[in-house]
Symmetry: C3
Subunit: 209 residues, 3 copies
């Protein structure tokens, strides 16, 4: 069973939920940014960048407390992994948005918007799973959320294959291929990272069972 | 010394050997697929995909048992690493074959066939090393197999450099360069992964010495 | 407090300093190689290759001794991480120089020379931090060196974005884009690796505090 914290002890769950909320904000912001037809500019990128910095602070606080706290709600290495993998989600939003800006790619790309929709679903399932760890009563709901993340990762694999095949068939400009290929692969990597988070959550549940 | 298992205990070695056999099957299947001059189609890809799924099941069984078993033949983290690295071999066969399909690349490419030959040799040395762990008498044979994997990885490095240099010199179509460059790099990564497996095996032997 | 070694015990610090010196040599050699206008040839590449081999030997000696030594100056896993990350610096110099050779790229590229300057600064700060671990008195100086490495990584991120944006704007030949894009990304990765080393050093200090 997950050990209960004394009131004044550091509450890791509060910070995990903060990380999850930043991820949800970033997924929503990303979807908005790429839906606009304009090229991703510095102002748009800074919205993601700001969220990434805030999430970084949350991650650092968790790591600091991990070094200072004797009693933790679950294995120290799992807290470490969960924090790091959650942070990878925000890093990846930062990477892909920055790349769109550097490559001066126009928004409104339908394939990428479809990807962004899947990513938003995956991140919201991640948030459900991570937030479920606190109460830790409804194991089934947590595992269902993780299963959904895994399912969406498979959807993303198929989508990436389909989109890349289409890109190579229709695009005639090799430079456009270089740019979009990388963006689509980044989008699929987002879903891989969400799957990594789900795996950490699953392994925490297994140990607590 | 490696602790002997009681008859009814879970036998990790059986599963490691299963993983090794799937890797050998995949190496052989991959070589066949790319020797045919036709483009890699869905049917060809599914042969590799099926092996990857079966290998996945074996890996999951090992991980499950690892969580349930008190006595293990060697360090838990080494069982974990060995299982995961062996699984990476199958994942990489899946990645490269899928990419050939998505990129609609024709078979019969001599450079890739040469790579596939080296990969088959490396995987078969891996299988020899991994299977040697069970009896664990002939340490020299295991270490020789690992040394061969390391040697083949160096051969692969040189081959990749040579093939890429040639590609950039002769290919005039940048899109073909983008595609084949990635395939050749994947092929070399296969040999890197085999080397990672060999390193895990070597470190298991060191600890048991 | 860092435990003092008896005179005849293996001195890990000597080897860490050796690794740091090889990194400094490689940074200097790399800067020289790419400043010359000629294409990077085999002779130039071998200078880096030789340093990488020597650094490899130092890393192997550390790992060997780690398995044999009971008392270590700090956590075994930190010695392992520090050694491995330091080794990654030399591996990356090898990778980028080899790529320049394989791609037959001319030297004298101003952007890359600027990167090489930043890399040299970062590596020299790494050396300062790592060498500081021995005496371990002036914690502030070590942490300042780590902070400088982190700062330079941020500089490198901005430089890569700027250089890639420029490359896509000015270069008309997609094949040149493919090649240089990879080189610039490698250069930025060098700074990421230095940051990873700095993080290991920082975490060693935290534990010893």
């Amino acid at each position: 069973m997950i050990r209960k914290f004394l009131p004044r002890e550091f509450n890791f769950f509060d910070l995990f939920e903060k990380q999850a909320d930043y991820a949800i904000d970033a997924a929503k912001t990303f979807k908005e940014i790429i839906s606009v037809s304009a090229v991703v500019d510095e102002a748009a990128y800074q919205k993601i960048r700001t969220l990434e910095h805030q999430a970084d602070d949350a991650a650092h606080t968790i790591m600091d407390q991990l070094n200072k706290t004797f009693i933790t709600p679950f294995d120290r290495e799992d807290i470490h992994s969960l924090t790091k993998e959650m942070d990878n989600i925000l890093d990846m939003f930062n990477t892909i948005t920055n790349r769109l800006k550097v490559y001066k790619l126009p928004g409104g790309n339908k394939q990428l918007m479809e990807f962004a929709g899947i990513i938003e679903l995956s991140v919201s399932s991640i948030a459900k799973a991570v937030k479920g760890l606190r109460a830790y009563k409804d194991t089934k709901a947590i595992l269902d959320a993780c299963a959904e993340v895994n399912r969406l990762e498979n959807v993303g694999d198929g989508m990436r294959d389909h989109v890349l095949a289409g890109l190579f068939e229709t695009a005639k400009d090799p430079i456009a291929i270089i740019k979009w290929k990388e963006i689509y692969e980044d989008a699929e990597t987002m879903l891989d990272i969400c799957e990594d988070v789900a795996h950490v959550v699953e392994s925490i549940l297994v140990k607590q069972a």
